[in-house]
Amino acid sequence: MNTKIEEIDGKYVATLVGEMDTVAATEAEEVLKPLYTSDGKDVIIDCKDLEYIASSGLRILLNILKGAKASGSKVVMRSVNDDIKNVFQLTGFIDLFDFQ
């Protein structure tokens, strides 16, 4: 999978592309780790091209959320497909994140 972080309009935009299984998650974590410690900017996670996510991927998202919450900024999930939304639903993550 491909993972990248950009700063657009004062917000961090993390774009996740492809399938984020357990192996891919460890790679993606390397990229996303800086977001664990927030500098007060809101984070947008773009899931338009994310096809699959395992629990290790969810853990990364939770860590980002925890960091953001600590500094009072928001984490917004953008363009999440139904299958992944279902996973959020089953794990209760749907109530933790904001969705666009």
Binding site: Y52, I53, R59
Partner: protein, 731 residues
């Protein structure tokens, strides 16, 4: 209204006593009136008798005097020519007339004896023992002017004059009786008379009375007093008063006539006593009125005394009654309180029974393709100390049966605790021995009453038929083999019952249930059910019944057969112990896989990429649509990652086998490893309602497995961990 009824309730005793008193008083008063009426009648009768007696006595004396006169009239008529004879005559009449005759006399027509002058009356007067005879006629004493002379000279008898003072003849108060003396031509020429004193009359009528305080007096026709009682019996003033009353009675007083007796009540002011006055007039001359005075005190005195006694006794009786009622009411209230208490306890017991019933599996059966369970519990009393429970978790049937020592409420409380302990111990535990351990430790804690529980816990792995069980001193379950129609007990070294010692090490045993076999669990209420001859139903009979229904696949039918058998045996004997039975029929369905794909991988996270490719191609082969395929992939990946991370000790390499099987209806994934015992199904479900800050990083994987699959199951088989994930394709 409510106030009134409350008041009545409070004052009930008082009201009852007042009513009883009023009733008794009314009865007593009626009786008194009635008796007094009877006594009054009696009094009148006796008054009549007294009056009659008095009249007869008077009459007796009077008649004697009358006879004396009439017998001399004939002699006198024969000696009319001899004036001197008259002296002798009156002397003998006065002499022989008796005590009451004062004197006798004879008076002639004027000039009858020319020698004797115009007036001639000879009178013989009794003076003590002798008789004084003299001629008493004079100008001053002209007897011809007297009534008796004129009556006699008309030829009539002088029938006793009203008493008068005779100054010349008798020289006292007398009454006179006289008869005419006739000459040869029959012409009355003289009157022969006797004078009788009246002072004796008082004595005669007072000679005898029924009642000692009674007295009598005699009155003349004109209402004047002739003679009364002695001063000792009645004072002259009282006598005068009575005479007045009798004279006035006809006009002023209400008379009560009874035959010849007339009477009226009176009040004697002198002595403050009430009484009755009765009087009657003699039928014959002298027609005197005889008056009898009776005092009520003497007649009714006893009745009044009796009434007093009755009232005193009545009051005493009512007092005793009041005390008794009070005591009764108290004891009744106590009884009521006891009854209330009993009702309360019964009510509570009823609720307890409900609660206990609800603790048992609500549907007392579980029916699946592979297992059929039915249980029943009949407590000997309202609540009992037996328990059974069963439920399905993953592909496992958890069940238990137990018997608390003793019966009734204490046992029921321990039963409830044990039941809860079983539920909590089995929530995240698949090992029955460990469950038993937990239950035992908690039960022993604070078990001052030393209640213990025999408990059997079983966990049946439905896909494999492996029965894991731990028996803490309970009756050994019986296995019924339907194919061979044989029964055998589930033997294993029994552990100590729960609640005895804290540090008991409970041991788990395993038994492989064959297809179609039935597990029969029971409490000793079954084997120790007694008939009226005190014989036990016994294990042999239980086995016989089970053999006879070995081919029966319906647990409910088997249980009913056993219940009928034991009821038939026991007949009318009272159920002495709780009776609990649990029947599990095992009949696994063969899983005929139409497709089996296998992947053997290492316990390395990088192998997940291989796994992903494997599962994607397998689901494609099975024609599973993409969204579901992703779900299945996610679930199995999570399970596999879990195994990779935990099955083998760190640094140790091992194999993990992933199998995908399908029979067209159901998909089964099996993840098998030879690592240490690791049962992910025992993990508590992660709380998905927590906030981001409180959410734990772990636990998400197994949560996803449970959520995405229909069922998961773990079983340790011959040193391998077998985790099965099941997804129904048609639902």
């Amino acid at each position: 209204m409510k106030k009134l009824s409350d008041w009545l309730k409070k004052r009930a005793v008082l009201i009852v006593i007042i009513l009883a008193a009023v009733l008794l008083e009314v009865i007593s008063a009626i009786q008194y009136r009635y008796t007094r009426g009877l006594l009054e009648e009696e009094l009148e009768k006796s008054a009549l008798q007294d009056l009659m007696t008095s009249a007869l006595r008077i009459q007796e004396i009077v008649v004697k005097a009358e006879v004396g006169v009439s017998s001399q009239v004939w002699h006198t008529q024969r000696h009319l020519d001899d004036p001197d004879y008259m002296n002798m005559l009156v002397a003998s009449m006065a002499q022989d007339g008796g005590a009451n005759i004062v004197g006798a006399g004879i008076g002639f027509k004027p000039y009858y004896y020319p020698s004797k002058g115009e007036l001639f009356e000879v009178y013989g007067r009794q003076i003590k023992d002798s008789v004084e005879v003299e001629q008493i006629a004079s100008e001053k004493h002209d007897y011809t002017q007297k009534d008796f002379y004129q009556i006699a000279l008309r030829g009539d008898t002088v029938k006793w004059t009203p008493p008068y003072l005779d100054a010349e003849g008798a020289k006292g108060v007398v009454t006179t009786y006289g008869m005419p003396v006739k000459d040869k031509r029959g012409e009355p020429v003289a009157v022969l008379l006797v004078d009788m004193a009246t002072n004796w009359v008082g004595e005669v009528v007072n000679q005898h009375h029924r009642n000692s305080s009674s007295f009598s007096l005699v009155m003349g026709k004109d209402g004047d007093l002739i003679a009364g009682p002695d001063d000792s019996l009645a004072s002259p003033s009282l006598v005068r008063k009575i005479v007045e009353m009798v004279n006035d009675s006809t006009v002023e007083r209400e008379l009560k006539a009874n035959g010849r007796v007339t009477g009226f009540p009176f009040f004697d002011e002198e002595c403050g006593e009430s009484g009755h006055v009765y009087y009657a007039t003699k039928k014959r001359e002298p027609r005197w009125q005889i008056v009898l005075v009776c005092y009520d005190k003497e007649v009714f005195g006893k009745l009044d005394d009796m009434r007093k006694y009755i009232i005193i006794m009545m009051l005493a009786g009512i007092f005793v009654l009041a005390v008794i009622i009070q005591l009764f009411v108290k004891s009744h209230r106590r009884l009521q309180a006891t009854q209330k208490e009993q009702d309360r306890i019964e009510g509570e017991l009823h609720i307890a029974k409900e609660i206990q019933t609800q603790m048992l599996p609500q549907k007392n059966s579980v029916t699946r393709d592979d297992v059929d369970v039915f249980g029943s519990l009949v407590p000997a009393r309202e609540v009992g100390g037996d328990l059974f429970d069963f439920f399905l978790r993953d592909e496992k049937l958890f069940f238990c049966i137990g018997d608390v020592s003793g019966k009734g409420v204490p046992s029921a409380m321990v039963m409830a605790v044990t039941h809860s302990l079983f539920r909590s111990a089995s929530a995240h535990e698949n090992n029955p021995a460990r469950m038993m351990q937990v239950i035992n430790e908690t039960s022993c804690h604070g078990n001052e009453a030393n209640m213990f529980v025999t408990l059997f816990i079983g966990v049946l792995d439905l896909p494999t038929g492996r029965l894991h069980f731990c028996n803490a001193g309970h009756d050994k379950p019986i296995i019924v083999n339907s194919q061979q129609s044989t029964v055998s007990t589930l033997d294993a070294k029994p552990n100590l019952p729960v609640g005895v010692f804290t540090d008991v090490k409970y041991v788990e045993h395993e038994h492989l249930l064959t297809t179609g076999s039935t597990l029969f669990l029971y409490t000793d209420g079954l084997t120790e059910a007694r008939n009226v001859q005190r014989q036990f139903f016994g294990l042999e009979r239980v086995k016989e019944v089970l053999c006879s229904v070995a081919s029966e696949s319906k647990p409910q039918v088997l249980l009913q057969t056993m219940t009928d058998a034991v009821n038939q045996f026991v007949e009318d004997a009272e159920q002495s112990d709780d009776l609990t039975m649990l029947v599990i029929h095992y009949m696994p369905q063969e899983f005929e896989s139409v497709l089996t794909e296998t992947l053997v991988m290492k316990n390395n996270l990088h192998e997940v990429t291989r796994f992903s490719a494997f599962i994607t191609s397998a689901t494609e082969k099975l024609g599973i649509e993409k969204s579901l395929a992703r779900q299945l992939r996610l679930a199995v990946e999570e399970a596999v990652v879990n195994v990779i991370e935990y099955a083998y000790p760190a640094g140790k390499e091992g194999d993990i086998t992933v199998k995908i099987m399908s029979d067209g209806n159901t998909l089964r994934f099996q993840i098998i490893d030879a690592g240490v015992l690791f049962d992910p199904t025992m993990k508590e479900r992660a709380d998905t309602t927590l906030s981001a800050e409180d959410r734990q990083i772990g636990g998400l994987g197994i949560l996803l497995v449970r959520e995405l699959m229909d069922s998961i199951n773990y079983e340790r088989i011959e040193g391998t961990n077998v985790l099965t994930l099941i997804k129904n394709l048609k639902s």
